[in-house]
Each structure stands twice: as structure tokens, then as C-alpha cells.
């Protein structure tokens, strides 16, 4: 064994990896995961089918793959097989054989990304290929050929196992960017109608997404929120008052409220999307905390699974109630020329996706890093959105939720009940058993 390998072995022990696991002086395996996850955020933004639900699904499969690949050789982590719905036991490592964790992570994540983004454009394909070549060269440098071969083969096997699992979740094929061409709108003033003149968006996004198989929660309806407010056009009704609150709030926004609305806008194709925003936060935390590999794969997997379940649960709710958006109601009954601050998303209102997904993320991150974990979020920096500071994950989640009222696209009930729904959904992910030792 070379001096480089010995040094790596010491590092492996320090990071809780199995005794037959090696790590070399190239990029650390957690750095490989961070690099690929960053690339996935970029691809999300630049792949037109990547609406928030679709993005959340990809993140979950990708990070579960990385988790399972690492857990298979870890002294600290245990497999999620039998815990996540439909996930069976995956490939095992050869007993006593040496593996390089960076190569394992690279070889696991690359094929999953390639499969999930096979529809991305020529620039995305070019970027993926360049990233893969660079990472592969960096991780394999100085590693014995038999270890390279074994590690790559194992990573590829885990990837194939996860991709096979993904095929069985009932997710619809994404055609027409997720807008069905044969959807019949539900008649009646309480129900959703298109909110823009974009021809493609005259039907709502992914109406069957709530029927997908969730990851950690039993089914899409496992965390039902209270029923949506009863529709009414009576100015004294709770429904009208909530619409009026949206109207009045948006019309008198402070500069900070407007900044908050834009910070959390997370529009698909113009950002990492809402689930990607929370993945971005997790990546920032991983770097800040200098998390080792086991904690890295655990945190990214938990945030991703919680996000994916949040979008399934939220979409199940959205198409149960099919509630009309504020802009439609307000223009009909209060002010025909009223404009929202940001574009109204093209799907029903109740519950708020931002609220559900942010609460789910806050739930798992709080469980990992604590109740009063202060952090700075720099996600929007490249888009000239100033960084924002938070005293806790729940402060961030609550702000993400209320940002949708400021933006004029959600009633308060969808936010408050959405946050509660997200907390419930996130708890299923918190309850996953990942550590072999409870004190890890």
C-alpha cells in the first residue's frame, strides 16, 4: 500500500467508512457528491421539463443512490431497503475487497444523472460530459486499476438498482412540459382556471403527480390538511376576507416584503426550483460544517426525500380541492386590473407548495442540526438576489411560506395549513433509521 493510500485509510477510519474502504488524495467523496449535486441544480434550471415536482423526484433518487452506495461500505450507516417504499436490498460489496469511495460516489451518481437528464439540451449534455470526464480523471488518479474497476462496477450496479426502483413509482411521462393536452377543467367559480395567456398553460401542471408512490410516507394522502376554506363571494365570508388580505398585502408591500417574495420565487427554468433551493441550502450547510461523507449522504438524502414526499402530498391535496387562485378571484370580485407581484403558478392553489416543501425541509434539517441553527442562504446570488440570514430553519420555512402571500399567489390558509402538512410529511423522513448507532 502506498503512502497516499495509507493516509487515505486513516481518513476513511476518521469518517466512519468500512475497513476495506480507501480514499485517495483526489477529491474527497463528499466533495464528489457536492459537485454532482451542484451540477444537477444547474441542469434542473436548464431542462424545460424540470418543474418543481419533477425536480424533487430526481433529487430523491439521486441522493438515495449515493446514500445506498456509501452505506453498503459504511460502519456507521445502514441501508434504507425496506424503509423507503418499494426499495429492495441492493448490490453488496465484495467482502474484504478494497473500494475507493470517491469513485463509488462518482460511478453511482453519474449514471443516475445521465438517465434523469437524458432530455436536457445540448449545452446540458456537454456540461455533464465535461464534468464526468473531469471528476472521473480526478478520482481515478493514482488509484490501483483493480480498485477503480471494482468501485466503478459497484457504483454502476447501485445506480441500476435505483433506476429500476424509480421505474415503478407511477410517475407520469413528462410530455408537453407537464401540461396535459386532454385535461377537462372542473366547472364552477371555486375551481382553478388558467391564470395566464400562455397557450401551453391552459391546463394545470401534472394533475396526477399526487398519485405517485411516495418515498418515506405511506401514501400521498398520509398528511391531509384541513379542507380548503369554503368558497364564498360574500364579503363577510372567511374566503373573501382571505382574498382581500392577499389584495391589500400585495398592494402595500414593503421593500423587504417584495424582496422576500422574489428571494423565494424559485420559478422553474429561472432558478433551481423550490426543492432545489432547499438542496442548495443543504449544500451550503455541508460546506459550512465540513461534513464527512456519512453525514453528507444522510443529510442530502433526507432533505431530498422530504422534498419529494412534500410535492407528492401537496399535489394530492391540490387536485383534491382544485381551488381557484387569488388572481382569478380578485379580478372577478375586487379589482379587474389587479396584478400579482410574480407570475401565478399554473396549477390549483391549495395547499402552497412552497409552504409544504419548506416545512418538510425545515423539519429534517432541524432534526439534524438543531432548533436554533443560524445560517445564511446565498442561493440567489448569481441572479442578483441578496443573501438572507435566518436564525433557524423554521424561520426560513415560515418566510418561504408567507412570501407567497406577499407575491399575491396564495391565501393565508394554504400557507399555514401547508406548513403543518409539510411538518407532518417531513416527520416520516426524520423517522428513517440511517445510523447503525443511535448516537452517531
Amino acid at each position: 500500500m502506498s503512502a497516499r493510500s495509507l493516509a487515505a485509510l486513516a481518513a476513511a477510519c476518521l469518517f466512519g467508512l468500512g475497513s476495506t474502504t480507501l480514499a485517495f488524495a483526489g477529491p474527497a467523496p463528499e466533495e464528489v457528491e457536492r459537485t454532482w449535486t451542484n451540477m444537477v441544480l444547474l441542469l434542473t434550471r436548464h431542462t424545460p421539463t424540470y418543474s418543481p415536482p419533477v425536480a424533487s423526484r430526481t433529487y430523491a433518487y439521486l441522493t438515495v443512490a449515493a446514500y445506498e452506495a456509501v452505506a453498503a461500505g459504511s460502519t456507521t450507516l445502514q441501508s434504507l431497503a425496506g424503509q423507503l417504499n418499494g426499495l429492495t436490498e441492493g448490490p453488496r460489496r465484495e467482502p474484504g475487497a478494497a473500494y475507493d469511495e470517491a469513485i463509488v460516489v462518482e460511478a453511482t451518481m453519474a449514471p443516475v444523472i445521465k438517465a434523469m437528464f437524458e432530455n436536457t439540451g445540448p449545452t446540458g449534455q456537454r456540461a455533464f460530459q465535461a464534468q464526468e470526464e473531469k471528476l472521473r480523471a480526478a478520482t481515478e488518479e493514482g488509484v490501483a486499476p483493480d480498485i477503480v474497476q471494482r468501485s466503478e462496477a459497484f457504483g454502476a450496479a447501485v445506480a441500476a438498482h435505483i433506476l429500476d426502483w424509480a421505474k415503478t413509482d407511477g410517475s407520469p411521462e413528462i410530455v408537453n412540459m407537464g401540461f396535459p393536452t386532454d385535461y377537462k377543467l372542473i366547472p364552477g367559480p371555486a375551481h382553478w382556471v388558467p391564470t395566464s395567456n400562455i397557450v401551453q398553460q391552459q391546463t394545470p401542471l401534472l394533475p396526477s403527480w399526487g398519485k405517485n408512490r411516495p418515498f418515506a410516507m405511506p401514501e400521498g394522502a398520509s398528511c391531509p390538511p384541513p379542507p380548503a376554506l369554503e368558497y364564498s363571494e360574500d364579503p363577510n365570508s372567511p374566503f373573501y376576507k382571505q382574498a382581500r388580505e392577499v389584495y391589500d398585502t400585495k398592494n402595500s408591500l414593503t421593500a423587504d416584503q417584495a424582496a422576500i417574495a422574489r428571494f423565494w420565487a424559485d420559478d422553474p427554468m429561472l432558478s433551481f426550483t423550490p426543492p432545489g433551493h432547499w438542496i442548495s441550502i443543504a449544500l451550503q450547510l455541508q460546506q459550512k460544517e465540513q461534513m464527512p461523507l456519512d453525514k453528507t449522504v444522510d443529510m442530502l438524502m433526507r432533505v431530498s426525500v422530504a422534498e419529494a414526499d412534500a410535492f407528492i402530498g401537496c399535489w394530492q391535496t391540490k387536485y383534491t380541492y382544485d381551488l381557484v387562485r387569488p388572481v382569478t378571484y380578485i379580478r372577478r370580485l375586487i379589482d379587474p386590473k389587479w396584478e400579482t407581484l410574480i407570475n401565478t403558478p399554473p396549477f390549483p392553489e391549495y395547499t402552497s407548495g412552497h409552504s409544504v416543501s419548506s416545512a418538510a425541509a425545515a423539519t429534517v434539517l432541524t432534526a439534524i442540526l438543531g432548533d436554533h441553527y443560524a445560517f445564511t442562504d446565498t442561493t440567489g446570488g448569481k441572479d442578483n438576489l441578496p443573501m438572507r440570514q435566518f436564525g433557524s430553519f423554521w424561520e426560513a420555512a415560515n418566510q418561504a411560506g408567507i412570501s407567497r402571500l406577499y407575491a399575491g399567489i396564495h391565501y393565508r390558509a394554504a400557507i399555514e395549513n401547508g406548513l403543518a402538512q409539510g411538518k407532518c410529511i417531513g416527520t416520516y423522513t426524520v423517522n428513517l433509521k440511517t445510523w447503525k448507532s443511535p448516537n452517531a
Binding site: P48, I198, Q200, D383
Partner: protein, 534 residues
């Protein structure tokens, strides 16, 4: 027989069924693909750096009045064709050596830069943009050094030009795309667009001014959007590659640094996969309207608030594509229902009914499976109620090739705009407009002495019966494709029309009554001169 032909050519189209009681006859134009018989064989090809671009420049360079053309070849040298068509006859082109046969060409725009009466060409390339000086008889030579034109080193994808008031030389805007050295994270790497203004010393150009911020421009157009007498620079940007960007409108005022319009001036954030700009006054309000191509939904913008009194017109536009049925978000024929990808757009009255029609070149970026692979080009006819009706398939221009740039000059000078479309990795196509029952027409050419020979920035008003048409003389727009040929007006049933020119210096000509179905050259202070080919 004539009646039979008329019956075949004219389809009764009910416009906005259920919304309008009027059923109007629209003359559906007919086009014939004459690519092979015309002798045109050119393909725009290349790898990643040629996924955008693919333009064609159409202009007369030998003084016979027939538009010649330069077709971008991408990795292959561009091809130049001399127009050998005869009036009203089949299209005919002859491949010729002009000096314009550069490699790495993405697009080209004709412009008489030195105002010598001979058309020059700005050639956009992956690498250095090149200003080619016209020598006459369709010969050109490089003039970057002679004119102080800085061609830089970029992925050049857009161009427009204007003559600022008081300038002897044009102001050129060059639009660039991605930093092509960035492989892993090219997003957010948009390189600077440039403004090349006349040199203070007179003659040629000063050092380029970067237009910061730049957001990966795929089309630029100097246009007098508010009829102030000064053209502003409209830029359509590809949101795929910018961060924090949007569509742009720039002040370009003489003696002042360029400055983007702001929200306080009414300019609203719009983020599209901007690929092409077409401009025409489609609603008769006297102001130019803009069609912006994109992926899936395109935009058709009109001024949101009509001008009132002396108050400045807010730079606010509203999207009327959906209510006016100017929609092209997915294929209308061929069975592929995935979203479309639009590139070059251009308004021309192809059936001479006094209403601007809209051609859109379509084609997948490059094997993007979520978007249509069989994506027919569009031809949207504007009807009497202002709404558009798709007739691309009926007209014979529903090409399923991978469209990029295009032009609609009248190649055979029969008073009907013809069509050339550049396709990526497929042969370019030329179509002859053979519409049997088109209306009367008028083709005009503005000629000034001194600077700005072709009167860029002028407005032409043509009144024909109940129709009042206005057209701005511009250089730019489309997708990497420029056209400098006869300015075409359909006149419908009218045997003549009243024509008034507002010249770039703001002076207005007297109104001339001109007989239909003829060509006229018009100069300031002079009577229009009828012109005939040959």
C-alpha cells in the same frame, strides 16, 4: 379555368368562429419549393457552436434590382448566390465567388456602411465578426481595418444598426452569446454585446462600448418604438443562459452613453428564450408592434397604454399573442404535438391584402426530445378582425426541416414576397410565391444622398382605401438574417395608394399618389421615380 384556380386558391376561413359573425375570405397564398430548380444548395451545419445562428442576407449587389443572397454555412464556408431570376419567372440563382465565403458564419446583415451606394455586409461569426465592403458587381473585401471596425472574438449572434442624428456613419450593435470556453458551467457566462459608434474624428468607428449587462442576445433591433424620432435598441435574449437577465430596451441617444430602460420608465421584466424579433404595426395605432420567438409560447407585444397628450409613452408592452391567435407554441400539422422552437420571425404581406402576415422558422435546437422534432414553419395570415390564422400547410411552406434564419424578399420581382429558409444540417429552401389571387402591391426603395443612403429610421405611410399602413425602415431583427430589398406593401383591391415618407431627419415628404403594381425609388425632395427591371 381562372375561376377554378380562384376556387382552389381562395379558402373561406371563418375567423374567430363563435366570436365574430363575420366570415371573411382570406386569400391563402401558395408557395412552390424551387430549391433544386433554382440551383440553391447550401446547408448550415456544425456542432454545439452552431446550434444557434444560421442566417441569410438578401440584398441587391449588382444593381439589377433582384435580391441576391448570402447563406451562412456554419463550419462550412458561407455561400453566395447571384439572383438570375427573371420578372415573374421561376427562381434561379447562380453560385458565385463574392469574397463573402467566410467560414464559421452564423449570420449576415446587409448595410451600406460607408454610404457609397453599394451595399456592404456585416458577417457574424463564431470568432471575429467581419465588415465586408461592397465593391460593386457583387464583389466584397474585408474592411475591418479600413473602417476601424472591431470584430472581436465572440460567438456573434445578433446585429442591428442605426444612424444617430447628425452622424455620417452608422452605429452598429453586435450581439453575442455564451462564453464558448466554459464547458462545465456555461450558464451565466453571457459575453458582452457591443455598440460600435462613429469615430469622433469622422470616418469609421470608435472603440466598441460594451452594453453591460448583456444577456446572450439572439436578436437585436434598432426601432423607434415610441415614434420619438430616435431609434432605441431592443434586444431579445435567451433565458437559457443568463442569470438575472431579461429582455432589454436601450436608450441610444446621440452624445450619451447607452442606458437600459428601467422599471420607472415602464419597462417590465420579461424572460423568454428570445430568438428572433419581428416588427410591424399590426393594430394600426401607428406604433410598431413586436413578435418575439421563443420555445413553446412566443410573444406578440403591443404598447400597453396608448399615448395621451404630451406625456411620455411608458415603455410598457402587453402580450396579445393569445387573444390575436398569433400562437405557434406547438406544431399545427404533422402529428408531433411537443412544444415548438421558434427562430426567425418576419412580417410581410404575402397575399397583398393590406395586412401584415407573419412567417416563423421553426426547428429543434438539437435533439431535444421534449420539443418537437417535426416542427413545421408557420405562416400566420392576419384577418380583417386583426386575428391571425395559420395557413403554413395550405400555403406549402410547412417545412419540417430544422429551421433557423429566413428572409421574405421578392426574388422575381412579381410583387409577391418569396421565401428563403436556412435549416440546420439540412439544405436551405427557397420558395416562390405563386399566389394567383393576391391583391395589388407597391414596392418602394428609399434613397438619400450622403449618409444613411437607405434611410434607416424612416417611416413610410401608405394609404390604400380604408387601409392606413405604416412601416419603419430598419436594419436588424429576425434570427441572424438581414434583408435590404424593396419595401413591400400590399394594396388589396386598390389601383393606387397615397404614400408619405417621414425621413430619418424628421422631415416629411408631400403625399404622392402612386399607381399600384409598380416599383418606385424615392429620394427626399424629389418625385418618386418609377423603376422597372431589365
Amino acid at each position: 379555368m381562372r375561376e377554378l384556380a380562384r376556387g382552389l386558391a381562395v379558402l373561406v376561413l371563418t375567423l374567430a368562429a363563435g366570436l365574430s359573425a363575420r366570415a371573411e375570405e382570406l386569400v391563402v397564398p401558395t408557395f412552390v419549393d424551387e430549391t433544386q430548380s433554382a440551383g440553391v444548395d447550401s446547408t448550415f451545419t456544425g456542432q454545439w457552436q452552431y446550434m444557434v445562428g444560421g442566417g441569410v442576407a438578401t440584398f441587391d449587389c449588382n444593381g439589377d434590382g433582384f435580391p441576391d443572397m448570402l447563406l451562412a454555412g456554419g463550419e462550412k464556408p458561407a455561400k453566395f448566390y447571384v439572383n438570375r431570376s427573371t420578372r415573374g419567372g421561376s427562381l434561379s440563382f447562380e453560385l458565385a465567388q463574392s469574397g463573402l465565403e467566410l467560414d464559421a458564419v452564423t449570420g449576415a446583415y446587409p448595410i451600406d456602411i460607408d454610404s457609397d451606394g453599394i451595399m456592404d455586409v456585416v458577417v457574424l461569426r463564431v470568432g471575429e465578426a467581419v465588415a465586408m465592403r461592397g465593391l460593386g458587381a457583387c464583389k466584397f473585401e474585408r474592411a475591418n481595418e479600413r473602417w476601424g471596425f472591431n470584430g472581436g472574438d465572440a460567438w456573434w449572434t445578433a446585429f442591428s444598426a442605426t444612424w444617430e442624428h447628425g452622424s455620417e456613419w452608422p452605429t452598429l450593435a453586435l450581439g453575442s452569446y455564451i462564453d464558448r470556453t466554459q464547458e462545465i458551467d456555461p450558464w451565466g457566462s453571457c459575453t458582452d454585446n457591443w455598440l460600435e459608434r462613429p469615430a469622433a474624428s469622422g470616418g469609421g468607428f470608435a472603440a466598441p462600448l460594451p452594453l453591460k449587462p448583456s444577456f446572450c442576445a439572439l436578436s437585436m433591433l434598432f426601432t423607434d418604438w415610441n415614434r420619438s424620432g430616435t431609434q432605441s435598441l431592443r434586444i431579445s435574449n435567451d433565458r437559457e443562459y443568463y442569470t438575472g437577465g431579461s429582455e432589454q430596451l436601450w436608450h441610444v441617444e446621440p452624445g450619451q452613453p447607452p442606458a437600459p430602460y428601467t422599471a420607472k420608465e415602464g419597462w417590465q421584466t420579461l424572460k423568454v428564450w428570445g430568438m428572433g424579433i419581428a416588427s410591424a404595426d399590426i393594430n394600426g395605432d401607428g406604433y410598431p408592434d413586436y413578435f418575439l420567438t421563443s420555445m413553446a409560447d412566443s410573444k406578440l407585444q403591443t404598447l400597453a397604454a396608448p399615448p395621451a397628450g404630451d406625456k411620455a409613452v411608458p415603455a410598457t408592452f402587453k402580450d396579445v399573442a393569445f387573444p390575436l391567435h398569433a400562437i405557434a407554441q406547438r406544431p399545427y400539422t404533422g402529428g408531433d404535438v411537443r412544444p415548438s422552437t421558434g427562430w426567425h420571425a418576419q412580417f410581410e404581406d404575402v397575399n397583398n391584402d393590406c395586412r401584415p402576415d407573419l412567417f416563423i422558422a421553426k426547428g429543434n435546437v438539437s435533439e431535444m426530445p421534449d420539443f418537437a422534432m417535426k416542427d413545421p414553419d408557420n405562416l400566420l395570415l392576419q384577418g380583417p378582425d386583426g386575428k391571425f390564422v395559420e395557413v403554413g400547410d395550405k400555403a406549402g411552406v410547412a417545412s419540417m426541416q430544422i429551421g433557423r434564419g429566413a428572409g421574405l424578399p421578392d426574388f422575381n420581382l412579381d410583387g409577391l414576397p418569396d421565401l428563403v429558409v436556412v435549416n440546420r444540417n439540412h439544405a436551405a429552401q427557397v420558395f416562390r410565391n405563386t399566389t394567383a389571387d393576391a391583391g395589388h402591391w407597391l414596392d418602394l426603395d428609399l434613397e438619400q444622398t450622403g449618409a444613411n443612403r437607405n434611410a434607416v429610421g424612416a417611416w413610410i405611410e401608405v394609404k390604400a382605401g380604408d387601409f392606413d399602413m405604416r412601416r419603419e425602415v430598419t436594419i436588424g431583427g429576425g434570427h441572424a438574417s438581414g434583408q435590404a430589398s424593396w419595401l413591400h406593401f400590399g394594396l388589396g383591391t386598390m389601383a393606387d395608394a397615397d404614400v408619405t415618407i417621414t425621413w430619418p431627419d424628421g422631415t416629411t415628404s408631400k403625399t404622392f399618389r402612386l399607381a399600384a403594381d409598380a416599383f418606385y425609388r424615392i429620394a427626399p425632395g424629389a418625385e418618386p421615380a418609377a423603376w422597372q427591371p431589365g
